[in-house]
Symmetry: C2
Subunit: 139 residues, 2 copies
Amino acid sequence: MSIVVIITNMKRNTQQRQVILRLLSARKDHPTAEELYQEVRQEMPRVSMGTVYRNLDLLARKGEIRRIDGAAGPSRFDPVNDNHPHYRCPGCNRVFDLPRDLSLERLVDVPLLKKHGFTTDGLVLEVRKYCDVCRAAVS
Amino acid sequence: MSIVVIITNMKRNTQQRQVILRLLSARKDHPTAEELYQEVRQEMPRVSMGTVYRNLDLLARKGEIRRIDGAAGPSRFDPVNDNHPHYRCPGCNRVFDLPRDLSLERLVDVPLLKKHGFTTDGLVLEVRKYCDVCRAAVS
DNA sequence: ATGATTGCAAATCCTTTGCATTTGA
DNA sequence: TCAAATGCAAAGGATTTGCAATCAT
């Protein structure tokens, strides 16, 4: 049994935070912090990268936006060059293969994707689950 | 029309390369370069991080292993906090939403995942396709 | 008033790279 | 032999952080 308390203070609705959120929301693609910084700078020339990063992180942890990068932290490597799906342990952040019966083809409608012109090559599917070690640690 | 030539020299089967590949293959999880480096160092104390990185990169580009990190490059942010799937353009590396009719539920067998204890929260599904801008540029 | 947030700069983390030396084919 | 690959150390890009000043409540 474990109780997780997420402390996400965000007590002030600053100019910077509003502008960052507004500009991010106005975009159809999904910009990097740097790209957003350049845009924010147009209307707030004195804003700093630190502020952009801090706010994006805060908003993401509060659940108002989402950070999209399979990778939390450094790159990981798989000896098998294949599109098989992975899961990441929220505890230790390590990555593992899904059990063999949960193959990509069984989990994902690959033909439908192909019909729409998306390549299944380089496909990324990552889900989450506590690994055995971390599960044991909290029980 | 564009012809892509991938030049991946790898003319020598060095001690370092063999050890790196053997140790990576022996693992069930998917280690970072740093984790692998620590392991390689046990049997090759003089190996350098540069060599580990260079070999992992070489092996990945040759297709013998796979680099797994949704993120090529810096983090990207999505104003919608939601599990919707994305595609990445191989040309400009930007990230976009899939068309609405390709919803997560339509593409992925979420119930099957849940039945196996995987959380669909924080799920990452990323496919590839050239964006309109890059498609126009090569045609 | 006062504590959250900022700008700034330095620090940190991960990764790549230049170069002289070593080594596998 | 001799280019590929290494070790080392320095550079690079992305992100975080310490701190004094500022600003929202």
